[in-house]
């Protein structure tokens, strides 16, 4: 029987994507819920940090289409692709990330890791701090807190653009990018047989997550007590 779809996105990439949707939204919401709920903001932040770090590592050792070397094109390609989007007659299909999408992935990963990273050292001037506040001077923490707020604005814009673009592809250009990020599969007409992946290397992914989780847990355990009190 002829297969109608081919596997392009492995399970770790898909799970990472949707867990990021949950943890990033969660981080945003819990930042405004009040001091009692603030520990959830930290937990969401840890999750984002581990997921993004994992994705970066996976971009080096993961399956074919997860690797940066396979979807990052020169900026010239990205701009050419941007012009292609204006026309309905040209095919926009690509196997993995298209040139424009590839660079937005990099931008989102960079901003997310910067956001989670600065949050580790931040303070709200009043009562709450990041877990590594005790490792930096108060002045440095204040600077990193400022970046944490600025990067949020950039993230809001970038993630908003991301969602809008997926909607644009789907409703205007009739290219469904949402389903493949859930099932992993794209129509066979768009994916040549050699391009298909044949497994998700789940055990490797779990191993990387375990190492990253262990490193974060150790750092949290050994960090000095973080408090705004001078006594």
């Amino acid at each position: 029987m002829e297969r109608t779809t081919r596997l392009v996105w492995d399970l770790p990439v898909r799970v990472t994507h949707w867990l990021l949707v949950i943890s990033v939204s969660g981080a945003y919401l819990t930042s405004r819920f009040g001091t009692g709920m603030f520990k959830w903001h930290r937990y969401c932040g840890y999750t984002v940090l581990i997921l993004v770090t994992f994705r970066i590592v996976w971009g080096l050792v993961g399956t074919r289409h997860a690797r940066f070397e396979n979807f990052l094109r020169s900026p010239r390609h990205a701009i050419e692709y941007l012009w292609k989007l204006r026309s309905t007659s040209v095919s926009l299909a690509s196997v993995g990330h298209n040139p424009l999408g590839g660079w937005s992935v990099v931008a989102m990963l960079a901003l997310l890791i910067a956001q989670a990273g600065t949050g580790l050292f931040a303070n709200d001037d009043i009562i709450s701090t990041g877990p590594f506040f005790g490792w930096v001077s108060h002045a440095l923490s204040n600077a990193l807190t400022m970046y944490h707020h600025v990067i949020f604005n950039a993230l809001e814009a970038l993630l908003g653009a991301h969602v809008l673009m997926i909607a644009f592809y789907g409703y205007v250009r009739k290219v469904n990018l949402l389903t493949p990020m859930v099932t992993g599969c794209k129509p066979a007409a768009l994916v040549a047989e050699p391009e298909e992946i044949h497994g998700s290397r789940v055990f490797l992914a779990l191993g990387i997550i375990a190492v990253l989780g262990g490193a974060l847990a150790a750092a949290l355990f050994f960090a000095p007590a973080a408090s705004l009190s001078i006594f």
Binding site: D125, I126, I127, N142, M146, S227, L228, S229, F231
Partner: protein, 162 residues
């Protein structure tokens, strides 16, 4: 008289120099004395520092970083309640936009709203002082968090982020 003209010259020049010297001393003195607006800024920043340092142990207890100590909590809470009403007089109109201030001009543009926040701080710190006397950590923790929220919500609207 001998050297009549020269003596006159010396007298005029000494008089001019003395006047100049006195005038410059006066000018320097008034330039270095802070204006009322500058003093108000210094006053409230000092108050906020005292309040912040006293809130520190309370915040640490609420976050679980410092063990709960009823006597310490009461002492700190009483100080918070004592300090909170002092801010009402610390925002005169001539302190708006003065050097070093982190007070946004919205404080004077939306004075009614700012006054509500001031009042909220007075109320929450009063409640904190009352809660601290119960020696019940759950109640104290809740009151500390409420106070912290009041500080933060006012900052969010009225304090310049640096």
């Amino acid at each position: 008289m001998k050297f009549q003209r020269q003596r006159k010259m010396v007298a005029m020049v000494s008089f001019a120099l003395t006047t100049l010297a006195l005038l410059s001393v006066v000018a320097v003195q008034s330039a270095s004395r802070p204006s009322k607006g500058e003093l108000a800024v210094e006053y409230r920043q000092s108050l906020y520092t005292v309040m912040s340092v006293n809130f520190g142990p309370l915040g640490a207890m609420a976050e679980g970083v410092m063990p709960f100590n009823a006597a310490e909590a009461q002492k700190r809470a009483d100080r918070m309640a004592f300090l909170a009403p002092m801010f009402k007089e610390a925002f005169p109109a001539d302190s708006n936009g003065v050097a070093r201030t982190a007070a946004r001009s919205e404080i004077w543009a939306a004075a009614a709203e700012f006054d509500k926040d001031q009042q909220a701080l007075i109320e929450k710190t009063a409640l904190l002082a009352v809660a601290a006397k119960t020696n019940d950590f759950a109640k104290v923790k809740y009151a500390i968090q409420e106070t912290g929220e009041t500080c933060k919500s006012c900052h969010y609207k009225f304090k310049e982020t640096r």
